[in-house]
Structure formats: C-alpha cells, structure tokens
Amino acid sequence: MSDTVNDTMPATGLLERRGAMRQLEGQITGCTISRDSQQVAFATGEGDIMVADRADWGQSDAWNVMTVHDGAVLAIAPDAAPTGFLTGGDDNALRRVAADGSVSDLAKGRRWIEHITTWTNGKGGVIAFASGKQVELRDADGHTTLKVLEHPSTVSGIVFDAKGKRIAASHYNGASMWFVQAKVDTVRPLEWKGSHIGIAIHPAGEALVTSMQESELHGWRLSDGHNMRMSGYPSKVQSMAFTRNGKWLVTSGADTIVMWPFFGGGPMGKPPAEAGGLPGVMCTRVACHPVHDIVAAGFADGSVLMADTGAQRILPVCIGGSGAVTALEFSPDGCCLAFGSEDGRACVVDLSAK
C-alpha cells in the first residue's frame, strides 16, 4: 500500500461506512446486478452463485448462496428480463437463476460457456453466449435459438451495440461483427493480426476496441474501418469500459486508471489520461457509473477506488488487504457498487442517498 494514498485520503473507505462483505470459498469469478437493480449476484470458481437482495445489501449474512454449476462459473450476466441472472460454467452448461432463486437449464454443449451477454430495450431482448468458436443467439425466453455464428477461432469476448442491432466477437486475428436480425448472416470482418482477448464497443457505435495479448489495445473506427492502436501498458488489459457518454474508454493494465479520449479526434495521436491509482499496484478491473462521470477501479492488492473523470477526485472504497479484485460492477441505477476478489471476498457498497 502506498503512503501517498494514505496521506491524501480518509482513513476508512466507503466499504466500511456503507457496505458489507462476505467471505466465500473459492475465487470470485464475476459479479453482476439484475436489470431492475434489485439483486446483486456473485459467481465463484467452486460453482456457487451468491445473491444479495437490495433490502439486505448491508447484511451479508442474509445473502443466499447456492450451487449452480459443477465446476467453476466462468460467466455471469443479468438476464434479458428485468430480474434474474444467466450463468455459464466449465460444466458446459448455460443456466438461469430466477429472482426467487430457482435454477433452470437453458443449454448444455460440448465446450465451456465462457461469455454471456444480454440486450433488451424493455420490450424485446436477445441472449448471446459463446462456447468455443460459436456464438449462439437466443430469444429472451432463453429457449428459442435465433442463430449460431461461427468464428475462425475460439471467441474471447462478445458485446452487443447499444441498440442491440449488432453483435461483435473478438478472436484470433481480429473481431467479427454480425447483424442480429439479418435473414442471411454476413460477417463484417475487422482484421488485425494477433490474439485478441477482450472486446468493448463505443456506446454510440463509433468504435470497436479489443484487448490484445501483447498488452495493448486495438480499435476500429466503425464508420470507415480505420485502425487505432493504444499501447504502452505494462501488463495485459483484462478489463475495459466506455463511460456512459462515450467520451472515455477506461481500462485496467497499469498502476493507474487509464482513460483514452474518444473525442476531439482521439484516441489517435492522443495520450491517455490517468484518473489516479496506486503506485506499483496493477489495476485489474474497471467499471463506469451509468449516471455520473465516475469510474471505479479494482487493484491487484484488493483495493477499490472511485474516481471522478472530470474533477480528478479520488474516493477510496477499500484499501488493500487481500487478493486481486476479479469482479467489479455498478448497478444499472447507479445505487450499488459490487466487487469480488481472487481470495473469495464478495462486497456490496450502497451508494444511494440516505
């Protein structure tokens, strides 16, 4: 832990004042919040899901733990419906965990289900999951297969655009973009040599960005396919997120919170901004607040910070004390920050006005 942080920050973080923590067996592999912002769910390497109801965010002994997968839970996402979650595991199963805690099977394949993402506009919705080289799209009911999209190598990340019209997948040598509702599937290949290990899309659809094995980011301007390169990281970028207005792409991979400007001609030829950090400690997870210009970042020593992208103010959520932060999310209404760590800590911080 760094002295500079202690010197400039209050002694206690938000977790102590407005949060609750529960220690689980096994690594926290992911966390997410339901679309109605009423439930937080954590997933573990032991196959468990833990759900915290909004009324119990401050009381971790009331959080409900259930075993959902035989093996590690590799992916978790909010269901396309207002409530419930979808989980994927190394038991090759896709399951639905409803708000009442009931679990149902949606799919069982031959490969690990490593990525799940959902989209909804409140009326209809689409579920997407990646298993090996395939991305399968299903109707919001979870049982009707809309299409199966084949890729040249294993898919490392999937993302819908904000309108749910297109889905993009990262893999070796680039990314593939598909129209969700197309009668005939024609891929838009976005090519760049190398191994792409994660993906994010600009909220207004201006750019698609992938993380690369060589500790850099690659991007494509979607209007004309122009290539963008964002490099200089000391380690791989495991986590990235656009701010709500698309002005910044916030990423992990350095000992500061790195933010690439997507305005004024950027990110081409522009240096990234840094929204604070912990000297010598790698940032491992980032999340962007859905309402305010605030980002959250988790670090390799278990620390979590929140930072104001405009005013450069930093607010500690918790400082150090455990394994690397492996999961970090804001709720859709912005009232909750949830995070988990490699050594099994699961935390919920209530950010709502009291």
Binding site: G26, E46, G71, L74, E114, S153, T154, S156, G194, M212
Partner: protein, 333 residues
C-alpha cells in the same frame, strides 16, 4: 522480450506454482496409455488434464478439458515466437479452482510442435504467475520410431524438445534394435532422460516433477556424449555441448547469447547452460526456447564441483566451431 535474459522468480515462489507436464508423441506411440497410467496410479494427487480433440482413447479422469491447439504468432518481431492461446485461456480458467488439483497434464496432438506450448510459459504473465512448465515428456513407439524419424520433422522436433523420453513398446523389438534407437535419440537430444517402458508402465518419478525448465536444476543430468567433430555443420537436429574452464565475462556472454538467439533462434530448439561468471560466487543458470530466454543466479557452487561454464544447444543447422569460438570469446580477461 525476444532476446533479453529475464530474472527468474525465486525458488520459494516456484514451489507455489502449479506444475504442468506436457505429453507429446506420435499417434499410436502410447500417449493416452501413459496418461491413464499416471492418472490411475496410487499417488494421492489429483490432475487436471487438457486433451486434444483427436485423442486416441478415453481419458479416465474427473477433470478433462478439450483443447483446440490454437497457435498464434506474437507481434513482437520474432517469427518463431508462436504461442498456444487456447492454453493461456484454459490454464487461466483452471486456476480459478486451484484447490481442486495438484498438477496439470497437457496432451498434444501427434503432429504438434512442442515449441508453442513451451513458449506460452515464457510469454504470458498470468500463466507464469500461477503455473510452471515442469517438463516435456515425449512418448516414442520403439517399433516405428526409426522410420518415423526419417519421415517426419515433427517427430524429430518432439525428441529434440523433450526433457524425458519414454521409449515405449520395447517388447516389440530386440536389445540390438533398442541400442540403435537410443543412440539415434541421443544424437538428436543428448540431454533428455530416456526410460524404457511397455504399455506406458514407467514409475511416476520418471515422468512427474522433472524440473525440466527449472533453472535450479538446469543441466542437473549432465550430458556426457562424445564430441563428434567429423561434421562442422549439421543440417539435422543435433545436440552441441561446450565447456569453458576460465571464468566468463557476464556482459560479454549476455551480448553474445543475445545475438546468437536473435540470429539463429529459429533453428535453436532449446539451449541450457550453467555459467561461471568472473567475480561471482554463485552459478548462473540460463535456458532458452528458440528466441526466448530466461536466466538467473542459482546459488553457490557445490563443494568439489568444477567451476566450469557449460552450455548445450539442441537445434538444426548449427555451426559447431563458430558457436565454440563465440562461447570461448566470452572469457573474462
């Protein structure tokens, strides 16, 4: 990254890393039989097994992962730097339930080149942070091996890369043939340990915990092969071993080996050395897979151990006298 010599993690950190054993060998050599022998033996240890999709037989284990052997080239300017991206992903996910097993065994397809697997452990920071490559174990079918080596460069690579070679199906050939086979294998790889077996029945201590990429144990089993000086330039894969008695200048050696790996890395499958640096009480260990190198001090010389620098290359198109002159030019004045 390609030609730098990185400091290696200390010994204490090495012990907490999950050991990974890579099992290679041609189709029909008996990889899966050996794998099942390892898994069913009474050792009280649990293994996660990564198999390829063309596996010969069923694997009898709780935790089996199908892999696709997806190799890609790193964008770091060295053409031979290929990596198994699927392995980075699979090992990363397996480590999420670290408590469930004691080691990992990766079985490759019959035609696979072991280099991308080994290089994965040099290149990826997360793989290095959680696991360590213990050894490349190559299973060889005694009955077919000579013909296979004549016909297939992949088979030669698998022998050249191995830390351990299991000479399987020895019941199908006689002692004279076995001696011929062993001498042929030795001419390619003089450093690997060779164990004879039938139906993969080798003691597990011959296969697991070999420390083949552990600098602490580099050249632990000293190669003692006759210098064949009749050829100065070997087109085929061969092992070259050098010794220098005078202490070396560390900076000169680093510069020389860096240049050698940069220029000939594509042809050098593996290199290992124990070096006696002038003014240092500790031994310096060095290893490389193609252009990727790794090195560090590994403690003082043992009592009565001759303080000589030894270096072994396994590769093709290697110029014996040129490498010798280069190595000797690293002597400290």
């Amino acid at each position: 990254m390609s030609d730098t010599v990185q400091a290696s993690p200390d010994a204490a950190a090495q012990n907490t890393l999950v050991p990974v054993t890579v099992l290679t060998g041609f189709l029909g050599a008996g990889k899966t039989t050996l794998l099942n022998h390892i898994l069913t033996a009474q050792h009280g240890r649990k293994y996660a097994v990564v198999v390829n999709e063309f596996g010969e037989l069923g694997v009898d284990n709780d935790l089996v992962v199908d892999a696709d052997e997806e190799v890609f080239e790193m964008n770091n300017g060295c053409i031979c730097c290929t990596v198994r991206g699927d392995l980075i992903r699979i090992l990363g996910n397996l480590m999420k339930r670290r408590a469930k097993f004691d080691g990992i065994i990766v079985e490759t397809t019959g035609l696979a080149d072991p280099a991308p697997v080994a290089q994965t452990f040099f290149v990826d920071e997360d793989v290095r942070g959680k696991t360590r490559l213990d050894a490349v174990v190559t299973v060889v079918d005694s009955y077919n091996v000579i013909q296979t080596l004549d016909e297939s460069p992949e088979a030669v690579n698998q022998i050249a890369f191995a830390d351990v070679i299991i000479l399987n199906k020895t019941d199908l050939v006689d002692e004279v043939a076995l001696a011929t086979i062993e001498s042929r294998i030795r001419s390619i790889n003089a450093v690997a340990r060779i164990h004879r077996a039938q139906r993969g029945d080798v003691p597990l201590s011959d296969v697991l915990d070999q420390g083949g990429f552990d600098l602490q144990r580099a050249l632990e089993h000293a190669p003692h092969f006759l210098e064949d000086t009749s050829h100065s330039h070997e087109a085929d894969v061969t092992s070259l071993s050098y010794e220098v008695e005078e202490p070396l200048d560390a900076a000169k050696f680093q510069a020389w080996i860096g240049a050698v790996l940069q220029e000939q890395g594509a042809d050098i499958l593996r290199a290992k050395g124990i070096l006696n640096y002038a003014g240092e009480d500790q031994r310096f260990a060095f290893q490389a897979v193609h252009m990727m190198a790794d090195g560090g001090f590994i403690g003082p010389w043992k009592e009565g151990e001759p303080r000589v620098s030894r270096l072994v290359f396994i590769g093709r198109n290697l110029n014996r006298p040129q490498l010798r002159r280069g190595f000797e030019s690293c002597r400290a004045k």
